[in-house]
Each structure stands twice: as C-alpha cells, then as structure tokens.
Amino acid sequence: MLPGLEKFYEFLVLAALVGVLIRYTPVLPARWRVPVAVIAVLAVICYMPFTVGTFRTSQLTTITIWSIVAIGLNVLTGYNGQISLGHGAFVLIGAYTAAILTDSESQLGFFDGAQWPFWTAMIMSGLVAAVAGVAVGVPSLRLTGPYLAVATLSLMIALPSVLEKYDSVTGGAQGLHPRQPPVPGFLDGILERPEWFFFLAFVTAVIMAAIAWYVVRSRWGRAFVAIRDTEVAALAVGISVARYKVLAFTISAFFAGVAGSLVALASTGFVSPQTIGIVLSINYFTAIVIGGLGSIMGSIIGGFVVVLLPDLATDIGTALFGEQRGARLWPTIYGSILILVIIAMPYGVAGFLHRAAAVKPADIAGAISRTPRNALAYLADTRERLTWRWTERDGKRGDAP
C-alpha cells in the first residue's frame, strides 16, 4: 500500500486509521462509535498473523502479553496512584506457576502428578500472583511515591536470586521447559503453531481488557481514582483506603500473573530467572506512562510502542549512521524518542489523542491563518527580546519577575 513500509507496519497504520476514523468522524451515531471502532481495530489485528509471517506474528504475541501487564499496572499506577517498578516479579511468578503446573515432573508431589490443562494453569497463575500481590500490597500501605517504587524494585532485584536458590522447585538457573499447549483439534489445519499462540494470547488479552474496563468503571474503580486524587477526602467519604489499595495491588498482580503464564505457555516455551530482568520490569512502567496513565487504550498503545520502538530505532539508526553503527547506536535513538514523545505528549499517546479529538476544524484553520502573522511578529520582536535579556543582566529591569 505505502512505498518503503513493511507490510506489518502498513497493517498497524491501517488499524490505527480505521480506529481513529470510525471513532472521530460523524458517520455513525455517537453511542456506536467506540464499540464499532474497537471491533474494527481488533478485526484488522486478527487478520494480521495470516499475512505478516512467523517473526512478526510472535512479535504480536509479545505485544499482546505486554499489553496485559500494562493494563494491570495501569489499574495500580494510573487509576490508584501507587507506583510499582517491580511488576516483572509478578510476571515471573505467573510464568513459573504455569510452567510447574503444566509439567508433571516438576509438580513436587503437591498434586496428583497429572498435567493441568493450560487454561486452568493460566487462571491458577493469575491467582498465585494475586496472592503474592496481597503479600506485597499490605506492607506497601505504609509507603508512598519513590519509597514504594524502590521497595517494589528491590522485590524484582531479589526474586531471581531466590528462584536460583530453591532450584529443586524452580530448576535453578537452567530454568524450566513448560509443555506448550498444542493446537486444539477443532483448529487443526486452520492455524499454525505461532498463530495459535497469538490467538491464545489475543483472546486472553481481550477478556482481560474487558475485565479491566468493567473494573475501572465500577464502584471499585471510582474508589481507586478517589484515593489517587486525594486520599484524605476518599477516607472522609467512607472509602476504606487500605482495603482498596490492597485490592488494586491484587488485581494488578492477577493481570501480571496471567500475562506471565502466557510468557511460559505461548511465547518462549522456556522460563528461567533471567526471563524477566530488571530493565524489562522498569519498561512495563515506561509503557504505561508513554501510552497514557489512567487509560486502558493507552496501556495497549504503550505495549505496541515499547515492543516495536527498539526495532524502529534500529531502522532509523541504520538509515542515519549506516549498517554497523546504527545497530550499535539504537538505544541512543530509542531513548531520545522516548524523551521527545514524553515532552511532546505529557499525558501519553492516549492523552494526546484525547486532546486532539477535542480540536475543531475551525481551530486548526485559525491556527494556520495566524501562523504567518505570529512568525512575523516573533521575528520583529527579536531585537527587543535580546536587549531585554541584556538589560536584565545589567540589573536595570530588576522589577521583572
């Protein structure tokens, strides 16, 4: 469709365009726009695995898993205002739970030795991570802001060494090889393995997003937001701050745990203490801030951005500095893009879209018509601005603030 653009990115642009057009143009009645836009975007993404090849399909799976973690983290950070840099720990816990449950040899005789079906293992992973979330959330009640951030980060730093220490359960540094679910019978011949893994992650993500959507609009969600905005006022209107803060941690850890089970079952097929590193754990946080805090769509966009941006940065790097140097300089470009995006869009991509949608055509026309005049005025002003600086330095305009 577009010259010089890979098919994968073409489809992503198409999905974005379709979504934005349906959402923001007055073709449909207002109440139908959001659901139809969501369904249209999902339809485009569903079609993608069949055309973009194995590598891009598995990348889509990764993005989907990231989005689940980001949605969960956004419930905690975006809606409830608690910062966690250690969500990788819950993902790791979920991945290990799924790996142990689906592999009869590593079940330690806790259960009857039978392999769990993958979907029960996935739910169980979420529940185990949720229990861990309660265990972390209760002590976290005393901590706020950066103190909470460092405490959760230290959980993430500590967990891999703990996993290596108890190697009889976790397989130590060698890790575990979970039994990945085979393509089910009724889909045999329709889907290849990578496609099946993608749709497994995709369907899970849609369900989880729907749950999150419901939660943040429920009584719970309103309580979360009230606590984030003013804790004392929330207390005064009868919200049990402690209970809801722990609840937010639990829900958020549940999401991370389910995503972790997908890491084990649908992504790498291998779980070790190094599967989720400190950097990855901090990147989940980057994803939600870039995507937009307090927005489910923002979390999903954040997942796309953080997974695809390194690729894109490498492409830009090779275009600018040549093959070899570009491959080595990509993190510099990646970091620069992150900084530029956050400066240009203070409320994330979702916040930017939200504000862009409120702009009327007349505003744009007005801005364009004013631009030449403003530019001329700015140029004409230059001399006075410079002199003002110098007089200020001489102390002659001391009354200026």
Binding site: Y147, S154, A158, V162, R328, P331, Y334, L338, I342
Partner: protein
C-alpha cells in the same frame, strides 16, 4: 521440604564463624564496608540532591557517572596527570548535569511528575549506549588508576588494622566531599538560596532567587558528586558497562534508607549498607544461613524492614499535605 530440613542449616549457623571469634577480620571487614559504603553514599548523595529540589529520582545518575569516568580513562590514556584528570572530569560532569537540566528536564517540569522519571530512564539508556558505542571497541573491563594516596593492592599498616590504601583514600575523599557540601549548603548565601528553592519554590522566587538557575546548579552538583563516586569505585571493580549498575542499585537503597530528602542520611545509609553487606557476606549469617545467592535479597530485606518501621527512611521528613 519439611521442618526438619531446617535443622542442618541451624546447626551450621551455630558452628559458623561468629564476629567475636575473629575480631581483626571483623574490624577489617567493617572498615572495608565503610569504604564501599561511602561510595554508595556519594552516589546516593547525588540522588538526594536532585530529589530534594525536584521531587524526582534520577535513574540516569549512575550512567552519567559512568560516562564521565570513561572520559577520565581516555584522559589518563592520553597522558594527563591524575589530579588534572580528576578536576577535568568533575568539571565535565558539572557542565553535563547543567546542560541536561536545561535541555531535557526543564521542558517536563510542569508535566505530571512521572514524566520526569521517564526522561531520566531515557537518559539512562542514551548514556549507557553512548558509552558502549565510544569505548566498547577495545577490551573491557578497563583498569582505572587509583588516587595518588595509594593503590588498590598495597596496604597501610596501622598496628591493629591493615587497610588497603585505596580504601583509606576513598574514605578521606568522601569526608572531604561531604564537608564541602555541608559548608556550601550551611555557610554560603548560594547554599541558602538552593535550600530555599528546594523547600518552597514559589516563596524562593518571591525572595528574588533565580530558582531556575538553582535547579540547574543542583543537577550540576549532583552529577559532580556522582562523578567522584564513579572515579573512586572504578579502581575497585574495574571499568565496565555494568560497573555503575551494580553501584546505583545500592545507592538507591542507601538514599531510601537514609531518607530521600536528607543528605547526611544518604551518607549514613550508604555506610550502613556497605557494612551490612560486608559483614553478612563474611560471617555466620551470610554464607551459611542465606547462602551466596541470597546475600543480595537479605540486604534488600533489611531495607524493606526499615521502610516498614520508618516509611520515609531513617532521617526523611514525613511530608504533611494540606488538602
């Protein structure tokens, strides 16, 4: 796993060397802990200086120090004397800190506070990859010279104590840096202006303080202190791309332990963590009870326990907010 499995652990814990069995080793390890702890403290001090004025944890602190320390390595290679290199690196760090505050931190000042965190994370990635790009062609890790006071391998003999010369140098320099900062903040008008800016920006502005310049100066100071930490730690654990990553995690812990808005707390927190780490890895509790893998989690557990008792660190002020 059952309860009885703990018994051998317990027995070996009781049989393992105790601090009072070998006092000399205990003191040696404590002083070595103070030395590494002062480095953590210096880097933590940089974090605290920025947090006090801008309410932001600077994740790029360690990588900034790494970058300028590698600059110092290049200067040594080019034949600069150590002291000239030391002074130049500190100057470069200060300039870099001020430049970053002016160019990338100030545009996000009015934005939500987490945005600044993302900017510092971006800076972390940028400086790490730039360092790798410029200096990773040659062999890594590179060795970095110790201060003229003494090398890493030779020792000073004080009778009861034999200390590595570089550790002594580290302690001396840390004390000098801390004293300079103390004098700057408490005995000069500039320091007063900086403290005023950190405490209440609007009020400081109304008193005629150029708060923007004070914030810029804060970033410069922070980068300079971090650079000193980087140059002191490089002779001990060599200069590699991950050198500062190992230091910065403990520096975060030190800053949080001492209280993020207390500069003396950062030094005390750093030294506490340094000593704890050394004693835990030498004596009974460490190797036997926790095992080598669990030394790090044990140190972090101590941090979390302290936070549970004092949620804003040992010396941090509890912020009271009017609604």
């Amino acid at each position: 796993m059952n309860v009885l499995a703990v018994l051998p652990h317990l027995a070996s814990y009781l049989l393992a060397p105790q601090p009072w069995d070998n006092l000399e080793l205990f003191f040696d390890q404590s002083v070595a802990g103070i030395a590494t702890g002062s480095i953590y403290g210096l880097v933590a001090l940089g974090i605290v200086l920025i947090y006090r004025s801008t309410d932001v944890i600077n994740f790029a602190q360690g990588e900034l120090a790494l970058f300028v320390t590698f600059c110092g390595w290049s200067m040594i290679e080019a034949g600069y004397p150590y002291l000239a290199m030391f002074a130049l690196v500190i100057l470069i760090a200060g300039g870099l800190g001020a430049f970053l505050e002016r160019t990338v931190i100030r545009p996000v000042e009015g934005a939500p506070v987490l945005n600044v965190v993302i900017v510092t994370l971006g800076l972390f990635v940028i400086f790490n990859s730039l360092t790798a790009f410029i200096w990773a062609q040659g062999e890594l890790p590179k060795s970095f010279p110790a201060t003229p006071i003494g090398t890493e391998l030779e020792t000073f003999d004080f009778g009861i104590l034999t200390l590595q010369q570089h550790r002594v140098a580290v302690i001396i320099i840390s004390v000098i840096v801390a004293a300079c900062l103390y004098l700057l903040f408490n005995r000069t008008k500039l320091g007063l202006a900086m403290r005023g800016t950190a405490q209440n920006r609007v009020a400081a502005q109304l008193m005629g303080i150029n708060t923007g310049r004070m914030l810029m100066l804060g970033w410069a100071l922070s980068a300079m202190v971090g650079a000193v930490g980087g140059m002191l730690v490089a002779p001990i654990i060599f200069l590699d791309l991950t050198t500062m990553l190992r230091v910065i995690l403990f520096a975060f812990a030190a800053a949080v332990l001492g209280g993020l808005d207390s500069p003396p707390g950062a030094m005390i927190g750093g030294i506490t963590i340094g000593i704890t780490q050394n004693i835990l890895s030498t004596f009974a509790l460490g190797p036997v009870f926790f095992g080598p893998q669990l030394a790090l989690p044990a140190a972090l557990l101590v941090l979390v326990l302290v936070l549970l008792i004092r949620p804003t660190g040992l010396f941090g002020r509890h912020a009271v907010r009017r609604v």
